[in-house]
Structure formats: structure tokens, C-alpha cells
């Protein structure tokens, strides 16, 4: 994958918001069909990183490239193709409150498939809803949903066009176990279909399960980015502080390659991994603390 053009590449990207630096000189590349997981504490710039990569946040300096093309210099058609190519799941779902759930799901499809008939739109909408396991009426408004349900719809909206690239911001947060497992299986399916996926999370759970590449963020800087296998070798205490859970993984890696195989098996059968969710949340908090302590050190 090293020779091919990366799907998304960030080159020395810095961004500010409201006078505060949220990203500082970030560079990385997402290879075709790879799943990259970015970890970091609260306020480490995870979400901003993802939004910048998706062309939502405009960087102050540096460039974002989509298949080698600078996003800032795209023509209208190219820009359209770019937005068509990815789905973005927001941390807080970010559903359009003044439209019904159906319209929320239908809008991307209608926008990018203007020639599609209403029947086609409807099929795509129901397929997406079904994928995430949402079975309530789609005529409701987003305000009537629980947080977890909103997040499922948010994921469904990202999947409506079956994009080649997915940005997932804390895809499993606020979900009950059953829903979380469903999300994991969806990610697995996407991986199996060689979709390029970028996930940001505060928990190491997702990294364990899916990461081909791992990045660690702190204070707007990308401290490290590399293949997951190499991450186990990272010795920098700062990195370990941010990705606290990695220690365990490192230990397991030290314990033997067999354990890794066992993890892989667990990933394949994701329905059999119920006790992970609470731990993941605990880790989230730990990671957050780690991130903060990092900043204090700096």
C-alpha cells in the first residue's frame, strides 16, 4: 500500500479556532483499505483532526489531499465527488433537527444522486436504517430520539451512499452494548469490503479491534503515527500515557503472538465480546486524565 496514492493525506496541517490552536503541524496519510485509529484525550484535537481531513474545518496552513488532490483547490465537481466519497459520523450525531429522520437519511442521497427516483431514495434510506438496526418510524424528528438512537441514525446517514471512505468520531460512545456490538460488526463488514476508515476515539477498545495504523494525539499534535504492530514497540512515556490501554496490549504482545491470534478471533466474532464496553469507558476517562497531565507537563 505504500506505493499507491493515499486516499487522504494531511501535510503539515495547522488549524485555529476562536484564536486557539487546535491542530499543529499534523501530517499523516490514510492508505487505501486501511483502518486508522487516532487516540487522544479530551481536547487533544481528535475531532478537529477528523473534520480537517474531511474538509469540514479549513486549515490555516498545510494541505489536505484527497487522492493526491488539494482539497482547497478543487473544482466544484471534484469537491462534490470528494464529499460523495465519504461518510462522516459525528460524535453527537449532528442530525438536522428541522427534518424528519427519513429526510435526514435521504438528503445525502438526493443530493448526490439527483436523477434517482423517490423509490430508489426510499430503498437506500431503509437499507441504511436496517443496517444500523433502527426499527422505529422514520417520520419522527431527531429531537424525539435518545442519544444512542441519534447516533445510530448518524451512522446510517453516513452509510446511505455506501461511501468508500468513512470518518467515525467516537462511533461506539453512548451506545448500549447491543448497539455497540452492531456498530463493531458494521465496521468489520466495512473493513472486509476494503473501505478506508478513519476512527478517532478516546478508548483503546476500537484500536484493539480494528486498527491497521494507530495515531496518538495530544494538544493538537500528532505525537506518533504508524502501523499498529509497531505501536507496541513505542516506549515514549507520553505516548503510553495517552494510549493507556496499549500497555496491556504490549504485554499481550510480549506474552506471545498466540494471544494476538486470539484477539483476531475475538474480532471476527464480535458478538462474543460483551464485557468490553464498560472497560472502554473507564479507559476513556483514564486516557483523558493522561492527556491532561501531558498538557501540564508541556
Amino acid at each position: 500500500m505504500g506505493e499507491t496514492v493515499p486516499v487522504i493525506e494531511l501535510r503539515g496541517v495547522s488549524a485555529t479556532r476562536g484564536g486557539f490552536c487546535i491542530l499543529e503541524d499534523v501530517s499523516f496519510a490514510l492508505g487505501e483499505g486501511e483502518t486508522s485509529v487516532f487516540m487522544g484525550g479530551a481536547g487533544s484535537g481528535k475531532s478537529s483532526l477528523l473534520k480537517t481531513a474531511a474538509g469540514i474545518v479549513i486549515p490555516d496552513s498545510g494541505a489536505v489531499l484527497f487522492r493526491g488532490k488539494d482539497v482547497a483547490r478543487m473544482t466544484r465537481a471534484e469537491e462534490r465527488a470528494f464529499h460523495r466519497s465519504y461518510g462522516f459520523v459525528f460524535q453527537d450525531a449532528a442530525l438536522w433537527a428541522n427534518q424528519s429522520l427519513y429526510d435526514n437519511l435521504a438528503l445525502p442521497y438526493r443530493l448526490h444522486e439527483p436523477l434517482a427516483g423517490e423509490a430508489e431514495v426510499e430503498r437506500a434510506v431503509f437499507r441504511a436504517a436496517e443496517t444500523v438496526g433502527f426499527r422505529e418510524s422514520l417520520s419522527a424528528r431527531p429531537a424525539e430520539l435518545s442519544t444512542g438512537e441519534s447516533r445510530l441514525i448518524g451512522l446510517a446517514r453516513a452509510l446511505v451512499l455506501d461511501p468508500e471512505l468513512l470518518f467515525l468520531d467516537e462511533p461506539a460512545a453512548y451506545l448500549d452494548e447491543e448497539s455497540a456490538d452492531r456498530v463493531y460488526s458494521i465496521i468489520d463488514q466495512l473493513k472486509a469490503r476494503r473501505r478506508t476508515i478513519a476512527i478517532v476515539t478516546g478508548s483503546s477498545e476500537l484500536a484493539y479491534r480494528f486498527a491497521d495504523a494507530l495515531g496518538v494525539l495530544s494538544g493538537g499534535r500528532l505525537l506518533a503515527f504508524g502501523p499498529y504492530a509497531e505501536a507496541s514497540l513505542w516506549q515514549d512515556p507520553a505516548l503510553r500515557g495517552v494510549a493507556g490501554r496499549l500497555k496491556t496490549r504490549k504485554k499481550t504482545a510480549e506474552g506471545g503472538a498466540a494471544l494476538l491470534e486470539a484477539w483476531a478471533a475475538a474480532l471476527a466474532d464480535s458478538l462474543d465480546a460483551p464485557p468490553e464496553e464498560p472497560t472502554a469507558e473507564g479507559d476513556d476517562g483514564a486516557a483523558g486524565r493522561g492527556g491532561r497531565s501531558d498538557e501540564e507537563k508541556a
Binding site: 479556532r17 476562536g18 474531511a54 469537491e79 464529499h83 460523495r84 453527537d92 443530493l111 470518518f167
Partner: protein, 259 residues
Amino acid sequence: MLRRIGESVRRRAGEILYGLGFFYSLLKESVLFFRRRQVGYRVLVMQILFTGYEALRISAVLAMAIGVAINLIGASLLAEFGQGKLMYTLLIIVITRELGPLLTAFIVTARSGTAIATELGGMVVNHEIEAYVAVGVNPLSYLGAPRLIGVVVSMLVLSIYFNLFGLLGSFAIMQVLKPVALAEYLRNLVAVLTVRDLMSGLLKSLIFGLIIASVSIHRGFAVERASTEIPVAGIRAVGASFILIILADAAVTAAQYLG
């Protein structure tokens, strides 16, 4: 101290430039709105429904009250000078040209200006705008343009209704004071009404509509992330709209009387 002044001047200039750029792209998107087969049509309809139709009642009441007031003043004051006929000129000047567009603009600002600013602000805070961008929707064309067009259309339509109701109110009170046949009343009005008056009123409505919409949309999008910014955006939208409307009114009136 000097540096602070310099800094603030620089920031101000930057803001004004940004505002002008914003206004330009908003206007461009609005012009393109009709050419694009986008999903914003529904937003436009709802905007007109809310800004125009739902404001009709308060606008009508206000217009009739103004019409009655002018007639009462005209009947007592002008008759003293033996200039009773001037009443019609007064009606046209006040309702069609000056006060009609201004009062309509105030109503629209108070109702829709705040609504637009807070709604868009709320959308920013809920990351809805980012979601639109992510999907590939230009928020200016999808959210801004239909609101701008909706407000402008509503302003024009409301000011026409303001005329209608203002002149109706005046006619109604006339039936009590000294009855005049409707045909006679209309004839007198048409005699003093010029296309210039009509166009002047509509021009003002158009300009006021553009001001209200673009200021409110700008303030709404200016919200960054905190929900506490939302009411501030509403307040700023109203304040800035009022000031700009009054300045624009003075400018248009001056241009008409001088030019």
C-alpha cells in the same frame, strides 16, 4: 495603547471585509438558487410562511392603525388649513413610501431576524452545519439562500399588504368621519400616487429585506460553539439590522429627494 487601537482597527477591517465577502457569496448563492435543482425549496416555502404569512396579522393591525391615525390627523389638522385633499398625499407618503417599508422591516427583524440568527446559531452549536458541509451541501446555498430569498419576498409582499391594509384602515375611519364612496377614495389616491412612490416603497422593502436576511444569517453563522452565543447572535442581529435599516432608509430617501 496605540498598538491595541491598531489591532482593533485591523480586526474591524477584517470583519468588514469578511462581512462583504459573506454578503457577496450569499447573494451569489441566492441568484443561483433558482438554477440549482436543490432541496432548499422547502426551506424557502417555510421561510415565507413564517416570515411573511405569519407576520401578516400583526402587520395588518399596525397598518390599519397607522391608516386611521393619519386620517384622523389629516381630517382635523389639514382641514384647518383648508388642505383636506393633502390627506391623500400624506397617506401615500407615509404608508407607501416612508413608514410602510420601515415598520414592516421592524416587524420582520423582530420576528424573523432573531429567529434566523438563533436557529442558525443553534445549528452551528449542534454541528448541523458541519454535517451539511460533510455531506457536500453548501450551507450558504442550502440554508442561507432560501432564507434570504424568503425574507426578501416576504418583505416585498408584506409591504404590499401593508399598503392595502393601511389604505383600508384609512378608508374605514373615513366612513365614520365623513363618508366617501370607495371609487371616489380610490380615484383620489390614484391621482396622487405615482409609480415612483410605488417603486420607492418596493425598493426600500427589497433593500431592508436584504439587510435583515444577510445580517441575521451572518450573525447566526458567526456562532462558534457555545450555546450561550446563540441569544447573543439574536440580539446582535436585531441591533445591527435596525441600524443598517435606518441608515439605508435615510440614504434612499435622500437619494430620492435630492436626485
